[in-house]
Assembly symmetry: C2
Homo-oligomer: 335 residues x 2
């Protein structure tokens, strides 16, 4: 992971994260990122006994919260030095975000993606004009490939999560959510490398110190839950789950201490619970949230007892899902 740190320091970023970083990110992304709507469903409240608000980052540009961090990072680095190319490795949504941001800011993007990434995400990344380099998710080392591209081409590496500018950008969604619904008891956020939850919790704890922040992971991808239990970062084999955005084997070096400080605990959800919740949301709320994106909501739906009577904010983190995969998921739902 040395590479990240070097780039982070090289780019002038600090290794901690504060509310001020989130505020600065908000200023940077204003008028470029969408201020996404907050959804509420009477039916979901009836199902859960809680009052739940959904921050719809599936409606963010490029279909996920990732746009916020990517824009904040690349824009901030361009304020420090001049470069004409960026490189990112990503399971999908970060790739699309970096590709779109690069197009908007006039730099070239090369994206290192797993060869089994959903076709829609590969196509969308290329559609934004990025070069895509494929690697084997279960064998290859994407960081090594990314680093090599950075060395060979002198490009800026845009890490998917382990970077204060990325985390701060991600946290802006929660800042917007708490502006609209200030009195939340809980904030529930999917966890992959931890960038979204680190930024979200930093914003939430500043704006609403009494809030309880829960992370959510697929039960096969519980590296952060294990890490919190053990008190140090645990690496697991690359997990297999339908939540392709949450398949990271180890929480970030920079995100983990923030999570330790701010996150109460990490709940686990099954693939079936995510599919059930995705189908419910589509049928009842008419909105498409991808499996990774719906993990937080699935935890609330399937662990009602923890949330009954409370006011809960949930981040829908993304909505990029291949229609063919969606059709397969819907075919599995019991009617």
């Amino acid at each position: 992971m040395e590479g990240h740190d070097r780039r982070g320091i090289g780019g002038g970023a600090r290794l901690t994260l504060s509310w001020r970083d989130v505020e600065t990110a908000r200023e940077r992304i204003a008028g470029v990122a969408h201020r996404t709507p907050v959804f509420h469903s009477r039916q979901f409240d009836e199902v859960t006994g809680a009052t739940v608000f959904f921050k719809a980052e599936n409606l963010q540009r490029a279909g996920a919260f990732k746009f916020r961090g990517a824009y904040n990072k690349i824009r901030a680095e361009l304020e420090q030095r001049s470069f004409s190319e960026v490189v990112a490795y990503s399971s999908g949504n970060h790739a699309q975000a970096v590709a779109l941001v690069s197009k908007l800011l006039g730099v070239k993007a090369t994206i290192v993606m797993p060869e089994d990434a959903p076709p829609a995400k590969l196509a969308a990344t290329r559609g934004y004009g990025a070069d895509v380099v494929l690697y084997d998710r279960y064998g290859g080392d994407r960081e090594e490939i990314g680093e090599k591209l950075v060395r060979d081409r002198g490009a800026l590496l845009v890490p998917p999560f382990d970077d204060p500018l990325i985390m701060a950008g991600a946290g802006t969604a929660t800042a917007e959510l708490l502006e609209e619904v200030p009195d939340l008891d809980f904030l529930v956020v999917p966890v992959s490398g931890g960038g979204l939850i680190a930024g979200s919790a930093t914003a939430a704890k500043h704006l609403r110190p009494e809030i309880t922040v829960y992370g959510v992971e697929p039960e096969t991808a519980d590296d952060t839950a294990q890490s919190l239990a053990k008190g140090e970062r645990v690496t697991i084999p690359v997990p297999r789950t339908i939540a392709d955005g949450l398949q990271v084997p180890c929480v970030g070096r920079l995100t983990f201490p923030i999570i330790q400080r701010t996150v109460e605990r990490v709940l686990l959800v099954s693939d079936d619970e995510m599919i059930d919740t995705l189908a419910w949301t589509l049928e009842r709320m008419k909105v498409l949230v991808e499996p990774s994106g719906v993990a937080g909501m699935a935890a609330v739906k399937h662990r009602k007892a923890d949330f009954a009577g409370k006011k809960v904010g949930v981040i829908w983190s993304g909505g990029n899902l291949d229609p063919k995969r969606l059709a397969t998921f819907l075919g599995k739902v019991a009617t």
Copy 2:
């Protein structure tokens, strides 16, 4: 159709429709119906060469614009006389709307529905506490069944479209759209019995006299297009189309003269065009619109030349779609 007219007159409603009716409907539904969001997609603008705004009535209560008319009708009639029961016949979305409105206003609802109505719509209607009576769409006469229930039980009949209060309620969506985007060149609206387009065009022509209003029908359900060509109402055999909300064999007696006066022409779309557009909207915009609801958008997507360079408002009229049917549709989309 005698029944409608009798009830309409009995309820004190006039047989014409004016902007004032839409204004009154707005006051009646305020704080009860959702003010639905207006969506815009850079990608759709790139595809079409137009600038297109979507009024998301798929996010309306009970999943379709129908809630507006049903609430306006039942509430207005309750202001005139006391009754404890309502009856409606409907292919689906009107049924759910009447069922939900009845629940909110504390009256009992009996809904006459075709036996091949989508299971999700049957279940949702029953879920709102209504009694459902089934009939054969291709053989039975739903109006006769409805009339009989009205006679036997002294209930209020809530027609799906041919009623000024229903039309006025439907028109409130367009009033909201034009408040947000005042300078539309075109308004594109799906046509079934004509209640939505009659109300929409009445509102649009008042707020923006120079606007051009287009209706859209499935090519197998072109009764209104035929009626406009002939200058009188044409009845066709009950059409077969995936757009189950647009399967009405004849435009309304009251809606037709309004359509003649306000609608430029009716465009036709195929089932494949509606499926293509539905899948596009889900994948790119992360929003579920049902086949009937997406008809207007499909016309803009597949007849780009008519709209290039123009500012277009489209009504997404509903979003109620069974997950299994959606899976089937997505399986048909070419990738």
